[in-house]
Amino acid sequence: MKHWTEGFDDDDADETLVRPYTITGGRTAPERDDLTLITLVTAISTASSETGHGLRRMQPEHRTILALCKRPLAVAEVASALNLPVSVTKILIGDLIEADQVRARPPLAFAQAGGFPGMTILEAVRDGLRNL
């Protein structure tokens, strides 16, 4: 009998699917669709760090996210650190937003708006890159 972690790195291993959705209590789609790959997530330091106020089932992964996000991290960075797919990570972060445990800052939607980033941002990025 195979253990569920076996083949965890295989692209198409069925075993990889069971555990992530156990963490989310069987939910496979985020309730909120406003989280993006680079939405920055920050733990609210004043929030109760104990049982997770208002969070029905606090999983170890929820606690890990709170610890990781003491400094702002992008959704993609959180997913990478947890070694979980982005969609599963979004569900968990959504839980923490609902429970007022984390704050999320979305990116500016340049492309969708058919616009370009403003000069302030462009100059800041250019100067930052030059110092690289």
Binding site: D12, D14, V18, A29, L108, F116, P117, L129, L132
Partner: protein
């Protein structure tokens, strides 16, 4: 009204993104790794989940479910601004994620390998059709420059105003210069048209 990067009392910086696109093996991950302040990170997404909107475990447990992996890197510009670089493959099977990938993207670098220009056609088509600004980075594998810039432009059917930059994806300075070429391109586009700058 010009834009202040810091958000009203929000502690989190603003995140922006540059897409590093192009076909398989053109050097996307290499470029991300060369300029990122951290080793390239990897994240996965379920292919079937997002592409068909599966919302129950039955579908997710289906044998056809696979994951796709994305590499990304990070450059902290300041306490108020973070730049992420996402390697974005051109294959159609990734396109379900492109709405999310494009969200917050300032623009893109499309990497090409002169020996296999065709593998980057899909990426160029994508950005052209969506009006997303991009520059083309010619990754000079083994220092080979077997085609002139004019030949490459013609083969890619590139709009004359799209910058084409030679680079070595393994080199930090060369990689940075490709990103700077994109920023210059964005600045030029903005001062030319000044449409409706977002922030």
């Amino acid at each position: 009204m010009d834009y202040a990067i810091s958000d009203h009392g929000d502690a989190a910086p603003l995140a922006v993104k540059i897409l590093i696109a192009g076909g398989f093996g053109v050097g996307k991950t290499t470029l991300v790794g060369a300029v990122s302040e951290v080793a390239p990170l990897r994240t996965e997404e379920y292919l079937t989940h997002a592409s068909v909107g599966v919302d129950d475990l039955e579908g997710v447990n289906g044998k056809s479910t696979t994951t796709v992996a994305l590499d990304f890197g990070r450059i902290t510009i300041s306490s108020e601004l973070v730049l992420y670089l996402f390697g974005t493959p051109g294959q159609e099977r990734f396109w379900f994620m492109w709405n999310d990938l494009v969200n917050g993207a300032m623009g893109a670098v499309v990497l090409v390998d002169t020996r296999r220009l065709d593998v980057s056609f899909a990426s160029i088509d994508f950005f052209e059709s969506r009006g997303i600004p991009f520059v083309v980075g010619v990754n000079c594998f083994h220092g080979v420059r077997d085609r002139t810039q004019e030949e490459i432009r013609r083969a890619l059917d590139l709009d004359p105003q799209v910058p084409l930059v030679l680079c070595d994806a393994r080199d930090r300075t060369a990689g940075r210069d490709v990103l700077l070429a994109l920023i210059d391109h964005l600045m030029a586009a903005q001062s030319r048209t000044a449409p409706h700058p977002v922030a």
